[in-house]
Amino acid sequence: MKKLAFLTCSLLAMLAACSSDYAPSGPIGGESGTELAERQVIHIGNGTDPQTLDPHRAQGVPESNIGRSLFEGLVAEAPNGDLIPGVAESWEISEDGKTYTFRLRANARWSNGDPVTAGDFVYGMRRSVDPKTLSVYSFILAPIENANAIIAGDLPPEELGVAAIDDRTLEIRLENPTPYFLGLLTHSASYAVHPPSVEAHGDAFTRPGNLVSNGAYQLAEWVVQSHVKLVKNPYYWDADSVTIEEAYFHATEDVAAELKRFRAGELDMTNTIPKSQLGWIRENMPDRLVIAPYLGSYYYGLNTTKPPLDSPALRRALSLAIDRDIITKQITASGELSAYSWIPPTIANYGGGVEMPEASWTQAEREAEARRLYAQAGYSAENPLRLEILYNTHDDHRRIAVAIASMWRNVLGVEATLVNQEWKVYLDTRNQKKTQVFRAGWIGDYNDPYTFAEIAHSKSELNDFGYDNPEYDRLLALAAAETDLEKRAEILKQAERRLLDDMPLIPLYFYVTAKMVQPWVQGYEANIMDHFRVQDLKILKH
C-alpha cells in the first residue's frame, strides 16, 4: 500500500509541475500510469567508489549496495526492510535459540547455471571468517560457534559451527541465542561465493568475466572511478519477476555534482543529497525527494578521562545548553529527530521510551539548568571554560560545530575553538584521546539496540570518550546472555538511562537518509537500513 501511495502522490505533483524545467514530456507510466518503459536500464548514484566486489572483504556502503543486487544471502530484505526468504525458502530455530536449520531453494542457481548448495554457504562462511581472507567485517558472524576463535587464528575455519546436512539443508549453531541473528544473514559477510571460480581465479575472482554470483544480476563491467554495470542473471531462481535488465552504479563522490547529474536526467536515483541544497530541492523538485529515518545517531563525544570533562555535571551542562531543534530544523533540516536519548527509538527489539529527564522541558528551562550546573562546576564569565571541538573536514560537521560553539558561548560563556582535521588524522587524534570534544556518528551494523549500547562499553573500540562504568558493562553482559526479548530490552534500557545520566557523549540527532528518485522509478521504498535491491525496481514509461 505504501508503495502505491508514494507513486500516486509523486504523479500528482508531477502533473501539477508540468511546466517546470524538470518535467519530462507526457505522463509517467504511459496512458495507464503503470506502463513499463521499453528500455529497462537504471542509473544509480552510488557515492564513493566501491573498494572491492568480494562480499567477504566489503566494508563500505557502496560495496554492499551493489552486493545486494549481485548476491543473495540465505535471508533477504523486502523493499520496506522486512526480512524475507532469500536462498533459504524456510528455516527452523531450535528451542534454546542456538540452532538454525535452513531449507535451501531447489531452483537457486549461480550465474553460470550451477546449483547453489548448502556446501557453497559453508564454503562462503568459512572463507569469511578465515583470517587469510583479510575480512574486516567477519565479526558479523561472531555469534556462530567458534567464529571468534577462528577469526583470532586459534582454530581452523573448518571448526565453524556451520554444516551442510545435504545439498539443500544447512545447519548453523550459535554460541548464544542471538535475537538479531537472521538480520545478520543479510550482510555480505554471510554470502556464499562460487567455490570453483574462487579457487580458479584467486584474488581476481571479482573481475568481470570471472565473477560468478547468485543474485538477480551478474557483473558485466567495472570501470574504477566511473561505474559498475550489472546485467540480469538469467539463471536467478526468480528471474521472471526481475524487470530491469541493466543497472549502472555510478561512482558519485561529489554530492553536488551527483544532484546535477540527476537534474540533467542522467541518474534515476541518487545516493544522497547535499544537505545545503535541501531548501532549493524542497522548492523546485519536492516530489523527487525521498526522506526516511535511518539507524544512526550523531553525537559529540566528551573526553571523560581528563579534566575538565571528567565532571558529569559539567558534561550535562554542555548537553543542556545545546538547542537541538536549531540543529535539526535549521542546519541538517531534512527531518532529523532531535535526540534526547542515545539509541534510535525506531530500532527493533527495544520499544524506546528512554530519554534524558530534561527531554520534556522547554529549551529555556534547560538553559537555566545548564547555567546552574556550569556555575556549580566553578566556571563564570571571569573564569570561562575553554574547550576545543574536533571535527573531521566536512561541510555539515563544520556548520554544526560552528552552531554548537556559538550556543555554548551564548548560553554559558564557554570559549570554544574549532579544530578540523582530515579523516585519518582525526581518527588518530580521537583514538589516542588527545581530544576534549569531538564530533562523531554511529550507524547501527544491524537492527538491534545492542549495536548502539556496546559502543559505550569500557572495552569497545569505539569508546573514544573513555567511558568506564563497571555497572554499565555488567548490564551489557547481562543483556547479551538474556534470551527473553522483553527482559533483554529492560536491561538495555537500564543501561541507557545510566549512560544518559553520566553523559559521556551528547546525543544530538538521529539520522535520516535523503535521496532523489525520479518519478518513473517504481518500487523504491525508503527503509531504516537504507537498503534496496535493483530487482524490486521497475522503470515506467516516461
Binding site: 575480512s135 570501470v223 572511478q225 566511473s226 555534482a257 579523516w423 588524522v425 588518530d428 583514538n431 573500540e461
Partner: protein, 307 residues
Amino acid sequence: MLRYSLRRLVSAIPTLFVLIAVAFFMMRAAPGGPFDLERSLPPEIEANLRAAYRLDDPLWLQFARYLGGILRGDFGPSFQYRDFTVTELIATGFPVSLRLGASAILLALVIGVTAGSIAALKQNRVTDHVVMTVSMTGISIPNFVMAPILILVFAIHLRWLPAGGWGDGALRNMVLPVIALALPQIAYIARLTRGSMIEVLRSNFIRTAKAQGLSTTAILLKHALKPALLPVVSYLGPATAAVITGSVVIEQIFGVPGIGRFFVQGALNRDYTLVMGVVVFYGMLIIAFNFLVDLAYAWLDPKVKYS
C-alpha cells in the same frame, strides 16, 4: 646535444631515487594508516592485514622491497582498491587523464598564445584590456565554481551536453571538462605570452625587421614568436605533466575516471602504494617534460647551449 641528453637521462635515476625515498618515508611518518577505521579493527584482524601487506617489517626493508618491485614494474597492491594492483589502476586511468589533459593543454596553448600576442600588439589599448580581462577569468574564478556553472548552463538548462560521466571518451562527454581544465591554463599562457612578447617586440632585431618594412603578422610569426615563447615553455613543462595526470576537482565534478583523484583519495585513505605509484609516475613525467623544455630552449634561442 646527444651527450647532454645522455647525461640528463642518467641524472634521472638519482632524482627518482631521492623522490621515492623522501616520499616513502614522509608518507609513513604521517599519522593514520590504511586500516584505521572509525571502529578500530579487532587486534587480530589488524595484525593479519598488516602481516599480509608486510607492514610489520622494518621500514628500510619495506623500502628496499618497494624499490625492487618498481624495477620489475610492480607498484604493489592497492590498499584501497583491494581487487586491483596499482599498476592496473594507473594503466586504466592514465589514458583517460592523458586524453583530457592533452586536449586541454592544446586548446589552452592555441587560445592563450593568440590572445597574449594580440594583447601585446595592442599594448595598453582597449583591445589589450578586454582580451586580458577575459583570459584572466580562468584564474579569477576558481575551477570548483566554474565547473558547476558550466554544468548548470550547458547540461541542465540548455541540455546540450551531459552533466557528467565519461562515456568511453565520447566527444560530448569531453567538452565541458576540457574547457574547465583549459580555462586556468589559458590565463597563464596568455599572460606569459603577452609579457614576453612586449619585451621581444621592443628589441633591436624586431625594430630592424620593422624598418625593413615587413608586415606585422610576418614579424610576429617569423621573428617574435619563438623568443617570446621562452617563458611559456618554462611554464608548460611542469604544467603539462600536471594537467595530463588529471585534476581532482574536475574528475570528481564530472565523474571522469582518471588518475588525478588518486593523488588526493589515495593520500586521504593512506593508500601508501597507490600514492607512491602516482608520485613515481608523475615524477617521471616531470623529469621528462622538463628535459623536453630544456631542449626546446636551445631551439627557441639558438644561443642557449648545453655543454
